[in-house]
Amino acid sequence: MKNTFVETSNTKRFLGAMHALDDRGAIEACMVVVDGKPGLGKTTTLSRWVAQTGSIYMRAQKGWDYSWFIKDLLTELSVSYEGIRGGRRERFARVIQELQSRAEEAALNGTTFGLVIDECDLVSNRSEIMEAIRGISDIQFMPTILVGMGRLRDNLRRFPQIESRAPNKVEFLPASREDVAALIEGRCEVAVADDLIDFVHKVSKGFNREILDAIANIEKFGRRIDLGPKGVTVADMAGQTLMNDRTHGKPIKVPGAF
C-alpha cells in the first residue's frame, strides 16, 4: 500500500473550517469542534495536521484537574512546571507567553498554529477544564480544536460561552463513493475496477479502517493474478475475504455475482 495521505471530504471540511477561522467575524470565535464515530479518519487527519503545522497536541485524561491540565500543557510547550516561580497565576501567564511566541512564529512563517485537545469527551462536562481552555483561547484568539466522539457536542451545550465560540463544527461522516474511489486510487498499488469500488463502499459502510483493510486484501490478491484492463473486479475476487465486519467480526467475502 502506498504511504500517501489522501484528502477525503472529511479532511477537506476540516481544513475548510480551519480556513474559515481566518475570515471569522467575531475574533473570539476561534474554536473548532471535531467529532465522529471511531474509524472515520479523525486521528489520521489530526496526526497529519499537527505534524505539518507543529501545533500543540494534547490527549485529555479522565482525571484531569486544572493543575494537571496546565502541567501537561507546559510540558508540551517544553517548560518545566516545577521551574516556574510563583503559583497558579504565574504558570498561567507562562502558558500564555509561550503560546504567544509560538503563534507569532507561525504567523511570521505564514502557517497556522493551534491547540488540539483530543478525547475531549472525557473532560467536556468538567467546567474547570473547559473554562481554562476557553480562557487560553480567548486571550490568544488561537485556533483551538476540540476532538471527541458522540458526547462532546451535547456536553458543550451546557457551556453557552464555549458553544458560542465554536460555530465551526466538523462531523466526520462515513466516506462517500468518491472518497472510497480516491482512497483506493491513492493508496492501492494495483488497479481496481469500478464494480469492486462500489462493493467496498457498500460493505465498508464508509469506515476508513475497513476501506484500508479492503485495499490491503485487494492488493494482496491483485499482485498474484494477471489483471485485466479494468483492474481487479468483483468477478476476479469472488469468494475472497475483503474485510471483517466490525459488528460481529465475521469475514465479509466478495460474492460470486454482484
Binding site: 504511504n3 497529519r48 499537527v50 505539518q52 507543529g54 517544553s78 507569532e104
Partner: protein, 199 residues
C-alpha cells in the same frame, strides 16, 4: 535597504533595518522583507519579535506584518534599536524527523508507512529509509518498542510490516541521533541515551 548594509552581528541592527524597511506603514510580506534585508528566517523572526515586544509592529495575517502608530513614529524619528531579544524563544525545528516524532506521539501505535504519510511534504522525496533508520535508533534507545504482531504485507513472500509502540514520550522535541556517541540525545530532558545496537 540593500542586503549587507548592516552588520547582523550587531545587537539590534537587523531590527532597526526592519523598522526602517517598513517605515511607510503599509502591509509587508514577510518573504519579500527577508529577501530585501538579506536575512535568513531565524534572523528575520528574531528581529520581528523584537518589534512586537516593543509594540512597534503587528501581524496583519499569516505572512504579513505592518508597523503600528508607535512603530511609524519610531521609524520617522530615526530610532536605533540596540537591545537584543527579550527572553529566549524555543523554536522547534521543522524537519522531517521532527514531524515524524510528532506523528508518533499523536498515534502512539504506528507503522513506518503511517509516519511517512503524516510527516512527508511535497518535494521531500522518498523518506521511507529516513523514517526506518530513525525508528530503529529510537528503538535501540528504548523510546519505541516493536509490537509482537506485524501488519501483513501485500507482496508475495512479504514478511509484513512492523508495528511500533511509543514507550518513552519525553516531550515535543524530537530526540536526535548522535552518531559519534552512538546515542540518542533527548532535547526534552537534556540527556544522552545510549543505543544498545546501532544500525
Amino acid at each position: 535597504m540593500v542586503a549587507g548594509e548592516f552588520d547582523t552581528g550587531t545587537l539590534g541592527a537587523a531590527t532597526t533595518a526592519l523598522l526602517r524597511a517598513m517605515a511607510d506603514g503599509s502591509d509587508h510580506g514577510v518573504m519579500a522583507l527577508q529577501e530585501q534585508l538579506g536575512l535568513n528566517r531565524r534572523q528575520f523572526n528574531n528581529a520581528a519579535r523584537r518589534l512586537f515586544l516593543r509594540s512597534y509592529a503587528t501581524i496583519v495575517k499569516p505572512g504579513v506584518i505592518r508597523l503600528t502608530n508607535g512603530g511609524k513614529a519610531a521609524a520617522s524619528s530615526g530610532e536605533v534599536i540596540r537591545g537584543g531579544p527579550k527572553g529566549q524563544v524555543k523554536i522547534i525545528k521543522d524537519t522531517f524527523r521532527q514531524r515524524a516524532w510528532t506523528a508518533m506521539r499523536v498515534r502512539r501505535c504506528f507503522t513506518i508507512g503511517e509516519i511517512v504519510a503524516d510527516a512527508s511534504r511535497d518535494g521531500d522525496g522518498d523518506q521511507q529509509d529516513n523514517a526506518r533508520r530513525y525508528v530503529s535508533r529510537l528503538s535501540a534507545a528504548g523510546y519505541v518498542a516493536e509490537m509482537p504482531r506485524r501488519v501483513s504485507g501485500t507482496a508475495p513472500g512479504s514478511n509484513g510490516f512492523k508495528r511500533w509502540l511509543i514507550r518513552q514520550d519525553t516531550g515535543p522535541k524530537a530526540p536526535v541521533f548522535r552518531e559519534s556517541a552512538c546515542a540518542i540525545h533527548d532535547p526534552n530532558t537534556g540527556e544522552d541515551v545510549a543505543c544498545k545496537t546501532a544500525s
